[in-house]
Amino acid sequence: MEEESEKNPETDVAPALISVHPTHKFVSVAVGSDLRVFNLQESCVVTLADESGAHKDSIRAIRYSANGQLFVSAGDDKLVKIWATDSWRCIYSVVSEKRVSAVGISNDGMFVCFADKFGVVYVVDIEDHDVEDRVPVNKKAVPILSHYCSIITRLEFSLDGRFIVSADRDFKIRVTIFPKNPVNGAHEIQSFCLGHTEFVSCLAFVGCQDYPQGLLVSGSGDSTVRLWDHTSGSLLDTYNCGAQAELLHSNGKEEEILPAITDLCTTPDSSVVAVAIQSLPGVMLLRCNLSTRTLSVAKVVSIAGEAFIPTSIGGHLGF
């Protein structure tokens, strides 16, 4: 199953976002300030219970925790809402000083991280949450690391939970050791993954049972998807999707600017990376060979019909 969404033609609306629950129970979609959740198993709309009110401005980031018990939404209204997916109640509401650009949840579900417009990453400790609370608890976030004044586009935890990876609008990817007690800051940088020549738009990890630490993949405005050894920061392979997409969907007109990669999606125990590309009304599937550490195209799935720009990709690919 795979999902993607259309971009709203209105210019001021944030790119539509999609996120799928790890065991396919729910799918969440955010368009502008509107957040909707659909129960896939019961085929019905989920009613969200939020005593503090809905998001009041564009939502910029949504995601489920690894075990599916938590969901986080955040954006331009400077609120980070943490939801319990069993009741779909907002259990925490965290106020950020600035607009929020990215969110991450530690693999153990104990910490929620978010990044603001100044490039600062904050952590919120949520392990003590009380299921009895009816009203969202206000939590204080503490800064743990910072990209110097560059907007952070994505936060991702490594498969083994050792690292928090942050990508920014300046082409930089930083891999930082995520400490046991992150409220004192994450000061130890493991590596920088440098190679992209434009903003980094998305991050994901590929791994399998034989390779549990996995490898990092990133997509960028430079139209490439790159494969990294995140522990050393070395660039393993570069796949130029833009050139490929142009080739396959040549409509006669020569475009000077290569299309940006807008999102990436991987699934546990799969070596397939689904790639959303600005100019491609469909999805490009790349195969990552973990032993030769290379990327190659597996398939390009075109979606016929109305023209659209993929902005976000989520879900779990079954083959």
Binding site: S146, Y148, C149, D170, K172, R174, A186, F192, L194
Partner: protein
Amino acid sequence: MLEHEANANANSTHSKTTGLPRKRFYRARAHSNPLSDSHFPVPISPGQVDYSVYYPQLFPSPDKFDGSKRIEFADVGCGFGGLLISLSTMFPETLMIGMELRDKVTEYVKERVVALRSSNPGQYENVSVVRTNSMKYIPNYFEKEQLTKMFFLFPDPHFKEKNHRRRVINLHLLDEYAYVLREGGIIYTITDVEELGVWMKSCLEGHPLFEAVTKEELEADAVVKLLSSATEEGQKVARNGGQTFQAVYRRIAPCVSNCEKH
């Protein structure tokens, strides 16, 4: 080189007797906004820094660079380059670079190095300067654990509280400096602004990857004396009988058990 020499001699911006560039032709504002995006080339990664541009005598062509000898000292916000010039002869075998955001000041240091190289053959080949925003691009120039010394001398004080995040020493940027410094590497800071001196010391003190260098070690370290004597800013402070505040810290190994530093 020859072209540079010819230029230097014909150029009225250089002293006729020493061949050195004259500072009054390279006046610039005291400070520059690190948040504004200036346009200058930035290497994609440290592996792509072309050493033949900075150290032409030592690396005659870009393909001769094998990575065996790399830059070890970085003077961040090097200004007119006084410290580097002293360090160059004190550590003739070490490659060092000044990083400066202000275009004119960078040009001055470039010309100064060229002039010194031509009047002292064989010397000053290990010192160079690059125009860049070190607050943004340090990881583009240096690999992990590459540097042994970093200098932050008389940085912009940014007095206003809302501008404190522009200070070149702050808790978050120290993460990056700790990344490029190898264990045992030293970070030298000095200022004539007491408030900034207190700030820099408290940032370093609060960072888990740095520890203060002892008083005995400071006295034994010849570089410490240069902090106030070799730089143009330091000499100005000394002329005016001002006070300086220094903080010198060592990069240490991280605590294995995630223990807290307090």
